[in-house]
Each structure stands twice: as C-alpha cells, then as structure tokens.
Symmetry: D2
Subunit: 348 residues, 4 copies
C-alpha cells in the first residue's frame, strides 16, 4: 500500500526493456546518437510540432531550465503559491534563472484563476526599473492538488499572459495524467492553447529519470544547449535517457499507464467516499487528498500503508484533533488490491 | 573500433543487472531509501573514512558542486589549463560556484607541478579585495593527457595548497583507472594525500550515469544537500543511481574494468609504437595520444574507426601536413580484437 | 511643496561642506585613507560596539550586500510583503544573495508581528532539502508605512528569529527618523535588541549617496570586502563617502535633521487631520499616508505639489472614486511654509 | 609627489562647483531629473550618436554591467591578461555576467594584437555546448601599461571580432587620456571604429565617482535599466552624478585635464630618461612604468613620494636586486613642481 508518491514506484518494465535494448555497441555521447535524435523527433510528432526537445534527468532541472529560458534574471514568474517550483525545488528556478523571482498566487484547488492572474500581472507590471516585472506564468498540469486545467482553461490563462507579453510555461511532471483524463490531444493541451515551453515528465509516469524540455518555438531554443550543459544536465551516455522515453512513448504506454493511475485514484476516492472520507479537491489525476480520521490513520500506518501527511488542511475543511490531512498518490504500479485494502482499513 | 570516448561504451552488464535487481517494490524517493544508504556507506568503507557521499548523475555536476563547496564565489580555483573543468564544462563550475574563477596553469603532460602551483598561488594571493584569491586546487586523476598523479605527487601538491589555506579537489572521472595503475589504496590516493573533496566517477568506468561527490570532512558537508537539490541533481528515483554504484563496486568490478581498460590502452600504445607511432605522453590510464600519419588516419576512418582529433599537437611534437593528433580512449568494453585491428590499419 | 521623497531633497549643507573640506591633497583610494578609518570608528562609537563598517553609495547596495551576508543562496529572508527589499529593489537581494528567496509576510501598518513571524519561520523550516529554509529576518526601520519598531518590539522579533537560528537584518534607510522618535540609543535599537546587521542610511537623511553596512559581529565580517568590491561598490575616491558621513554625523546633525523631518510630518498630519484628512497609519517617522479627496488632490497638483499616489488603499480604508491614496514624505529640507501651504490647499 | 593613482587626486574644482550648483530645490530621484537627461544628451552629442547612456558611480560597475550586456552567462570575454577587468575587479564581470568567463590573452605593452585575437577567437569557437564560446572582446583605452590604441587599431580588432559575431567593449576609464593624445574624435575612437559599448570614465579624470555606460545601439539597451538597478547602481539622488559629468564635460574640461595629465607623464618620462631611467613601455597616456634603481627608490620613498611597485618586471627588462618596477600615474592635479622634484630625487 504505497501511496507516498508516484516516485516511489520503480521503473515500468517496458522502460527498463528499452534501456536494456539500447545497451549494445557504441554510440556518440552527449546526445549525438541516433536514438536521441529519434526520440526528439517522436516527441515532436506527438505534439504535432517541430519543437526543440532537450532531455534531462529530473523534473527540477526541466522546470528550472525552462523558467530560465522564459524569464530574464530580473523577471517575475507567476505561479500558484503551492506550486512545486515554489515550495519543493529549493530555489532551483531562481538559481538557474539568475535570481529571477517566483511570485506565488492563491487559487482554489491548486489552480490559477484568470481574474487573479490578470490582477497579479497588473500588480507586477510597471514601476520600472524598481519592481521586478512579470515575465512568465507557470502552470502545473496536473496541479499539486491533483486537479487539472482543461485546454480552454489553459487557453484563457495563456491569452491573458500573452496579451501582456508574458510567456507560458507548463510544469507537466504529470502531464500524462492530465491528458489521459481530458478529451484533448497533446497539442491542444499545450502550444495550441498557448503554452510556450513544457516540462514533459516521464519519471513519475514510469521512467527511471527522464524529462523533456519541449520548446515549441524552435527558433528561440538554441541557447538551451548551453544552459543544459552548464547545469550539469547533459548526460554523457545520453542515449539511455532517450531509451527511457522510447519505452515510455512506445505503443501509447505513457497514456495507458497514466489512465491506470488515474483509475486507481478514482477507485480510491470513491472507496473512501463511501466511508465518509470524501476527497477535499476534485480527483482529476492520480492524487487524492482526504482528511483521515485519527483512528483510520492509525490503522493504516499500523498495516504499513505509506503516504504523506500535509500540514494543516486548507481553509474551510474541518479536522478533528488527531485527524490527518493525507495526500495519496497512485501510479502505473498501483493495484486494485492495495487500493481496496487501503479503503477497507480506512473504513475500519 | 570505438576509441572516441569511454562514454561511448554502454552500461557494463553487472551495473545493468544491479539496476534490474533494484527494480522491485517501492522505495522512498530522493535518497531516503535503504540502497542509497548502503551504497553511501560502502563508498565510505572503500575510502576507509566516514565521508559524506552525495550521488549525482553527471561528472560535470559532481565537479561543479564540489568546486562550489571548496571555493567561495570570489575565490579562484587553480587547475591545469586543459582540465575538463576548464575547457569542457561550459562554465558549470563558475555557474554553480556563484561566478568563481578558474585559473588555468600550464603543466607537462596534463599535470600540475609543485613549483608552478606554488608560484600561481602566490600570484593569486593578496591585493585584497581587488584580486580574486586562490581558494582551491583541482587535480584531474587521471589527467586529460592520460597521465596520473602518484600518491606522493598528490601529497606534494596538497601540502602546498593546504599550507596556504587552499582546499584540494580531485576530478576523479577516471579515478578507477588511476588507482588500478598505482600500488595504492583509495584512501592513500585521496584524503591521506590531502584531497578534501573527490568527484568519484563511475560513468566512464561502466555505469550509466553515476558519480559520487565524496567530502572527506563530514562536518563541512551539510549544505551539499541544498546545493545538489537546487542544482536539479537530486534524483527522485534515487535508488537507481545507488544501484549503479552497487553493481560498479561489487566484487571489485570497478577496478577489474579499469585494469582492463588500462591494459587495452597499453596494448594499443605498444602496438602503435612498434609501427613508429609512439604515444605523445606516458600511457598511464586508458587514454593514448598519438600523431597519426595522414595515410593511417585515412585508412582507419575508411574502416570505420571512431576517435577524436585534437587541434594542434603540443609543443615539441612534429607533425607533417595532414597528420592527425589523435586521442584514443579505451574502456571496459574494448576488446583485443579491435585494438589489434586498429594497430594493423594504422601500420598500413 | 515637495513631498515625493526624502530622496528628492538635495544635499544638506553640512554634508556638502564636509565633502569640500575633504577635497585637498591626495589620499589612497579604495578606503585606505584616514578619513574613512575615522568615520568607520565614529560609527562604531555611535553604536557603542567594535562593529565592522562598510560604506557604500546606495541603500539597495547596503541591503543586498547585507542580506547576502546573513543568508545562504538557498536561504529564505522573511520580510514584510511591502518591504523595500521586496518590491522596490528589482531583485537586488536575490542577485547579490546568489538567488536567495525573499518571503513576504503580511503585517499591519508595515510591521512584522511576532506571532506571524513565528508561524512563518515554522512554515519555512524543515522539509530539507526540498524547501528553502528560513535563514534571516529583515525589518525596515522606519517601515514603508512610516511606522517604527520600538526597541522592545525589535527584541521580541529578534528573539524569535535567533531562537530558530535566523539572523536579523535591519533596513535602516530611515534609521535616524526612527531613532529620533524613540527614547533609545542606537545600540539599544540595534544590536542590544538583537540586530546582527544594519543598513545605516544617510542618503535620505541629507547625504548625497552614503550608506553604511554595520556588521555588529566583526569576526564574521571579513568577506564583505570581497562582496562589496565585486558588486562594484567600493569607490576609488572612497574618502568622499566617508566625508558625507563625517558631515552627517558631526554635532548630531543626523538626529537634528531627522527630528526636523519627523516634526514636519507631524505638522502635516495634524494639519490635514484638522480638515478631516486623517493619516491612515500612525505617523511615527517622516512619512504620512492619507486619502486625499479628489478635489484636494486636484488643487494640490495644480499648485505644483509633488507627491506619489499609491495603488489602492489598504483594507478597511474607504475611498470615494477619484480619491487618491497619497504618500507624503518630509525631509531635512521641508519647511513649515510648504507644509502649511499644502494643508491649506488640501483643506480647500 | 603623489604618483600612486589618478584616483588619489581629489575632485577637480569645476566638478565640485557643478555639484554645488546642482544642490538647490528638489528633483525627482533615480535619474528622472532634468540634469540627468541633459547630461545623457550631451554625452550623445559628444559621441555624435543617439546612444543610450547610463550613469553609475564606479568603473567596476560600468565594466561589469557592460560586459554582462555584451556576453551571455555562457560566453567568453577576451581581454588582455593584465586587464583591469581580469585582475583588479574581484570577479565583478563574472558576477554581473551570470558567471561568464574572462579569457586573458598575452600582448605586448598591454595591448591586444590582431593575430593573437583572431587565434584566440578561433580557439574559443565551436565544440558546443562543451566549450564556452567567445562572445565579446574588451579593450582597455588607455591600457594598463599606459599605451593606447589608435582608431585604426581599434577598427582592426573590432573587425575581427564582428566578423565572428563578437561584440566589442571598451574600458575607457582613461578614455580622455587616450583621446587627448590622438588626433581623433570620440566617435572615431569608438563606434565608428566598431566599439559597441563604452565604459566612459570621469572619476580618474577629475570627478568624484562618475562613469557612463554608453551603448551605441540604443535599441539593445533597454534591459540595462534593470541591470543597473538590481546591481544597486541607480543612485537615488542621481542628479549629482549627472552634475559631476556636467562639470567634467563643460568647456572641454575633461580633455584639458587629460592633456595636462598626459603632459605631466611625458615630462616625467623625459626627465627620468635623461637620467637613464627610461620608460619600459611607450608613454602614451598618463602612466609611466620604469625600473627605479634601489637607491633612487629609497631616496624617493624617504622624501615621501607615493607610487606603487609592481611584482616583477616584464620579460626582457633587466632589473638588479633591489630595483623596483614602478608605476607612476599623473592626474589633472599633478604639478610641474612635483614632477621635477621626483626626477631630481630619482637622479640622485
């Protein structure tokens, strides 16, 4: 019963197989190999765009490099106050971005809302050169609350951003989960809706350590080669990140796995709700937030269930003393059995 | 016949096996798993020291993070003018080090010499706060010229450095190759000789992407957690870097493989020398530098041999027009057959 | 009628005289002159402490260098959400601090409150290495709302900070104004209350461009020499910043001028209040915030009064359409006449 | 007898007068005042170009901000190995430039030579993304050896740079001295010869602390507003830097003073040469390098002469034990009398 993180799962067998397959003969290092080229092309095809693709091994690297690309050192990046880039990356975006500024906005259920975004941009525009100028918006898809933006919602936010000269970044560490839920294509959910740069995650979805920075305007992308290299993020045996993506993308694996993880989250949410433990936010990807009664939490921990408790529930959520605000994350590897057992234990 | 780089080889089977073995069940992410702890301890045992160990996935990251640790942003790091950190990392040490300064020194056969080091430290000490102050020395073991420092040589340089308050870093991307050649223990070649921080490389030796930053004084190491994270170099499925090291270190694999690579380099050097293509520098690790006559180069290229040509031979080496100053690198995967075929083709 | 900023005033005659006096003969550059040494000592005497003193020419430099000194690049600096360092320095603290993070807190009338500070420190402590760790607190004395911290208030905040290992910085761009109001000595209001580093401003108080970074623990101060130099903030003809301080500090000028500016603010506030234009926040230094009725604003502008309007009044303040939330700043140069004329015009 | 530095002189009376004149009434801060605008325009007129002008208070700031403007963080800036930016600014260019790399070149008498520049650019071009790419050249005018580049020499170097896509920066801390010597206009010696950005110094020439960053292509200059502000280099009472330039430029003062300083250097050089103490390098600006015999040095020091000794004479210069390689700098304030006395003492 591991619901601690989709990072806690291992490598999906098809990904590992692809790595094993790639392990023959020699290949030029640093991305100058055929497999890398092929994977970069594949990603372009999936997004129906001649995009520039840069593979790296962590989501933090993908986000930080992307943000450095879309905002100058004296620019502000608007994001949700609870976004991963804001609270979980130890200042990596600021570091890679030459000391740019992240500006956290409130927003229900982990999402930015158009009116608040518009007001925030206005607040961070003008008063030059004293004030940091809003330069980019970063959206988490899926969000840290397990919710997702529809293509129309992305487009509405991106339109506001672009109208004021801001770029749009999407942190897609769980992009597959969002996509699997929506009736939309990768293109519709990104550049057609106004996303300029995507951190396209494979790690949480089943890879070992593989993320792609996808810059939809190739013309602007050239300096990313240097950014990645001097960040120490250009692997010498680069073909093995490419191989991970090859296995991840083959036969639509990534969406199959994401759909599975989402289904497990649904099953978990429904199961818990039947026992009056309703999800705090809409369950739209592979994350379920619930308030676990003290006794349920104790039973689950005793049975070895693994999950993280968050500090304090969001406003408006009632918690009794000892209750736990729990984050439950499913993955490609989650099984019906462990979900059902978790629900049974929670039910008591 | 691939002699382009030890990075061009794939993953040694024992390393890949260890990764496959690690791929079961769940594990906490970000290094909080048992395998990571075990590997960190193993590395300490190998070095006979309660060292702080930080695993990362590239040599550039290991070097840049290490140098940021040993020198302040206004410090100078003295290294060979042709060191990897100086010419091949796109400014990563400067970036991670908050704009520290690399100061390149001349030195025969890729190595720093005590007298020149001493003079350089003197030249970069004083005149505060106008001049960047010498803060650290970085030694490449093996060097970019394929030569190595004996424990006594390391100790002589480290003594000079320490006497003036400088720290000593060792870029050990090919530490195994150096160690395999010398009659010395890992401890003797590092902290006992005065090395403060080691970039301990496994990638070139047979891993996929695994390097360890080894800080011999644990007390000073704590901030490396933040440095690594905000550099984007803390993997979420961290246990798979640990697994690589587990396979690399098991049964002395790393030294067996390094010894093999060194032997292949020797065989290559001796073979070529028999045909009057003598190595330019002593062959002490797994790299051979030779001047290939134009015709030999043409024959080798036609037969599909892969290797890099360097611009211009070093001073004192005669080259005819069309001759090529070639760098030939062997690895754990190099075979007698390809070495012999290379020699035969070179011989004409 | 200039109430735009205390920066809008010129140089106080005594400061200019001191500069003229210093302009004879030669002096070693870069702070190695007698006048600089004397002024550094004087500042120490004023604060009753053997402090390390570094003169620079802007408040932004003083703040940014100070914050870089008290927080590591991966540290968080807690400050009021409207603090100058947060909204008016274009990211200078982040830039000098190697991409540290400013964390803005709410607080009535521009001041931090102990309970909120304590909660914020708790929120930004732990979850290493993912979360930026609270490393320092910065207090503005006087605050951007024109309010001041008593010595007891500083001590209460500093105690909370120190108890959790944080350093305390004070942005004293208007330190003189605060001090002039309180019955306290410079020492009582700073290091005796727990301030570790002070940006001690003279510019707003009557100098041309002179600020002092005062590090109360001399032992930790040494690297500030390099920080200042590489920030381009070590003047070659350094004695002329020193001369400004000499004139500023002589005969208690700075406190006389600050007291005058405060009195002008009081006169302005009382005058306006008599006409139902009451100050929004307590007038404790040399800044008065009021809501000017539309007609009053029009009359004042027509008469050439200079002052800044702020966007939106704070919560709880009623404004009619067209009303202006105005910031009125007095200085050493403000006269009774212009205050009275301003009041008359506002009264209509 | 002060020949330590042109920084050791004070403020030229006309500059101080201009500051005093500017000290009346109020003015908007941060460069939004009439005097600043007028001075920016004047500088454009002097250079016959609608250039963007940014005033700052130190040469280090002017250089570091300029270099950050012309080279990306992963770019290399080629300069003389003894250039001020390389050896005397404590890494400021690297810091402001986001960790860019300075690459020092040899060159006779402090000057870069076309052939060496061309070779260096070639050496630092290509091998992307591993190698830092040559991005800009910085010329010191006058050089640290007291020599100057003619307009034709600047043009030859700039042509090489521009042909390879590099920008050209000129460190003109002593631009006036160079110009005063040559039969050329400011425009001819800068943008007409290919200089893209100039650090135009007034401090050494007679100001207190005033330097102008002159960006000849205004279209590219906009971000300098943010660079300067976040570097802490936008003065609040900015009009007083402008006033310094007003006094400096009025009536051609700057050239008159530079011509005087140059003449003093000539007189010194000729005087010493008559006594067999010939200048080591051509005396073309206001600096004279000589080998002072031990006895002469002792006499001069005893008589209170102030000047700096440099470590080791350049190659090819004979020095007896105890001889001193001395740098003698003249200024607007140097008198015939002190020159003659110095010569007499040196002569014995």
């Amino acid at each position: 019963m591991n619901f601690a993180s989709d990072n806690a799962a291992g490598i999906a067998p098809a990904v590992l197989d692809a790595m094993v397959s790639a392990n023959h003969g020699h290949a030029l290092g640093y991305g100058n190999d055929d497999l890398t080229r092929a994977v970069e092309r594949s990603i372009g095809e999936i997004f129906e765009r001649d995009a520039a693709v840069f593979l790296v091994s962590t989501g933090t690297a993908a986000n930080a490099l992307s943000l450095a690309h879309v905002a100058p050192p004296w620019g502000g990046v608007l994001c949700h106050a609870q976004a991963h880039i804001m609270v979980d990356e130890c200042g990596a975006p600021e570091f890679f971005g030459g000391a740019l500024k992240l500006i956290g906005l409130d927003g229900d259920a982990g999402k930015l809302a158009p009116a608040l975004l518009e007001a925030a941009i206005a607040r961070h525009t003008g008063h030059r050169p004293h004030a940091v100028q809003a330069a980019a918006v970063s959206l988490s898809q899926a969000s840290e609350a397990g919710t997702i933006y529809t293509a129309a919602e992305v487009a509405a936010l991106a339109e506001i951003a672009h109208a004021r000269g801001l770029k749009v970044h999407m942190d897609g560490a769980r992009f597959g989960n969002a996509l699997a839920r929506l009736n939309a294509s990768p293109a519709e959910l990104t550049w057609r809706a106004g996303v300029d740069v995507l951190s396209f995650g494979a790690t949480k979805g089943g890879a070992l350590a593989a993320e792609a920075i996808v810059i939809f305007e190739r013309a602007s992308a050239d300096t990313m080669h240097e950014r990645r290299k001097r960040g120490g993020h250009l692997l010498s045996k680069h073909r093995f990140i490419a191989a991970q993506f090859a296995g991840f993308l083959a036969d639509g694996n990534w969406l199959t796995w994401a759909r599975h993880a989402n289904r497990m989250a649904d099953r978990l949410a429904h199961g818990l709700a039947r026992h009056s433990v309703a999800p705090v936010w809409p369950v739209e990807a592979n994350i379920v937030f619930v308030v676990l009664p003290r006794a349920a939490d104790a039973r689950l921990r005793a049975a070895g269930a693994s999950y993280y408790a968050r500090d304090g529930a969001p406003e408006g959520i009632r918690m009794a003393p000892g209750d736990v605000f729990a984050r439950l994350v499913t993955s490609f590897a989650t099984t019906d059995t462990e979900v059902d057992r978790f629900v049974d234990l929670a039910a008591g």
